[in-house]
Amino acid sequence: MTEIALEQTHAPRSGIFTIAALQKAVAFVVLIALLLFFSFASENFMQWSNVVNILQATAVNGVLGVACTFVIVSAGIDLSVGTLMTFCAVMTGVVLTFWGLPMWAGILAALTTGALCGTTSGLIIAKLKIPPFIATLGMMLVLKGLALVISGVKPIYFNDTPNFSLISPDSSITNLFPNLEIPNGVFVMFTVAIVASIILNKSILGRYVFALGSNEEAARLSGVNVDFWKVVTYALGGFICGIAGLLISSRLNSAQPALGQGYELEAIAAVVIGGTSLSGGRGTILGTIIGAFIMSVLNNGLRIMSVEEQWQIVVSGIIIIIAVYVDNILRRKS
């Protein structure tokens, strides 16, 4: 109403003093604190083999978290990422084991399946106007069922394609640095994160994702084809789930059709802990990756301290609530 604004605005530019940066920092500080705590609590924690375990364990959740970040920043939600990942893995199994096609065909199968299923979710949301929560809840069950049907409720092993382990558990980097036994899956995750970060921040899609999440109606009235960009957002999320499907099936050397449900909540938790707002318009890929690491460090550390698994789950839940609470407080201060 009046010219109140100008004084209080020493522009929150991209910098270390922005709220977004602070949130990333909060998540980062939590991560460091957890690492320090577990290092002192157990000498096994910082063993190289355990660090590799943590990295390996983060890969799948990290990639799924990245998929969810796009959707959540656009003010949507995707509950189907876990079972979509499994469905993609099963389709890879079909191509590699049932049909005996070469490895590239299996990879392509997972990625196209992911993108197509994501497109379907997007179309249901944009064209049928079904709320994302319900649309992807439906997709979650449909894909879970289809994975079981197609696989015949049995794991599909990739014994005919020995090279498939290159995707995740193998460590190609040992060819260069023999002592650095980091599995390829970890590099896949970081690559996905970096590319996704560039897409979110630098591409026209990313810009529309933020605009949709901040104020969809204003974007629509600006002449933006919001339906189209919504579909693209979910399609990209689905594509990334395809990558997660490759990671998990490579690591298990099989497509496990019963797996998958529950992964979506872990992924959403990573996104939220990383400071992305569930109401959309705000979020970072880096935050999500840090969030995914917090979850896996927590699980790993508590296990090493011989905390019962039941209690690990309790602690994870508490961490999620605290993360969102801190997020709210910081937001109110801004």
Binding site: M1, A5, T9, A211, A219, R220, G223, V224
Partner: protein, 530 residues
Amino acid sequence: MAGRNTKEAGAAKSGSQDRAAQAKPLVELRRVEKFFPGVHALSNAHLDLYAGEVHAVMGENGAGKSTLMKILTGVYQPDSGEIVVEGRPVNVPGPRAAQELGIGIIHQELYLMNHMTAAQNIYIGREPRRGFGMFVDEARLNADAKALFKRMKINIDPADEVGHLTVARQQLVEIAKALSFNSKVLIMDEPTSALNDTEVEHLFAIIADLKAHGVGIVYITHKMDEVKRIADRITVMRDGQTIDTLPAAGTPISKIISLMVGRDLADATRAGGKSGDEEVLRVSGLNCGAAVRDVGFIVRKGEILGFAGLMGAGRTEVARAIFGADTIEGGEIHVHGERRNIRSPADAVKLGIAYLSEDRKRFGLVTPMSVRDNITMASWPRYTASKLWMRDGALRKTSAEYVDLLKVKTPSVEQETRLLSGGNQQKIVIAKWLLRDCDILFFDEPTRGIDVGAKAEIYKLLQGLAEQGKAIVVISSELPEILRLSHRIIVMCEGRITGELDGKTATQEAIMTLATQRQGIAASEERAIQ
């Protein structure tokens, strides 16, 4: 007989003082003043209401009627002034307190919970309980509501879900709710806006019954015919002040209108220059729900066309329908002489049509995003490399140019738009459409929420755009604004165009007359004014 006549004449002449001798007013508001940040909403507003009286409160949009009613019902606290109920000065700290004082209000928009029953709505928050207060006594709840409806002589099943009732019946439920507090004072804010003629008659019958039972009614309306029919006295407000209180009988409508608008126009310069002849937009037979009925008009190049009317006249809906934001039921739109189908805002934008909403924060800007992104939003695809990557450098450069051009006050183009003032936000939205090469611009309340200095700047900007050959439609509820800017003025009332005036010769009175010209009563009223 003679005695009664003189008494009435006396009351008619000097209003409250004479009546005060006989009875104390039910409610009196004295010298009420209210400030909002940057706005002096009420200064020296007063109103008195007697038992068994219908007291109409009239005034233009923004005259302060609603604010005054919100003070009476405890929604706002006055900054100074007195509220006197039956001779006692009182505080009304909240809506609950108003209810306890016997002051009820029926809002213009209905505040009902659609998924609950009529009875549950009426007694929400004070349900009869049973079983140690743990359960709602549904039977008594429904019986109470039924008794209430019976008293009002209306036939609504208390167990019906409110969402299933017609709007008129929902209104009756609101009235029942207000009556259930045993209100002695009932405020009705444009109660007939959603009712048809039969329903209006029913409402008037209920009002007559309430009067007979000694309830005092404050009746807010824009509709002159209603006032003439049911009001005993009329208070006219303007610019936050009570201008006059008159007896309804014997006061000509023209007098009321001139009291409502009587603002000095001295400072407002009229639209200068001459508009072009080239027709850029022709709309005919446009229909969109009840809000837009058979609307047709043309806009020419270099012209500012004003759309005047009262709130709810359908002007915003016309703009939204043309822009493709709402689905139209019929009508033709010609852009630059060609018939076009506009199904979405994206279609409209491609044809160079832009709509600047009155609610910038909701519909105009993505406020958490930067000035740069907001100015360029409608043009992003033009600023990409290989159709994929944003060229942020180019975005920055272009938006900086527009920031200079429109003199937007912002520390940088990276500033979040939510941190800018209203006037600067409006300039950002204008820049967005200029950058997108739009040449038909609909401005909906272009200066709402913008302070006086910035207003003049926006006016200059609009006039400059028209001179450059843009076709501009300005929707405004502020008559001086319409008169100052428009080459031609179209006036709407209840979804229809009721007249067109020349910008040079139009007067506020002429606009108000057309704006209140409901179908049917139009002709006779117009004659009365002339």
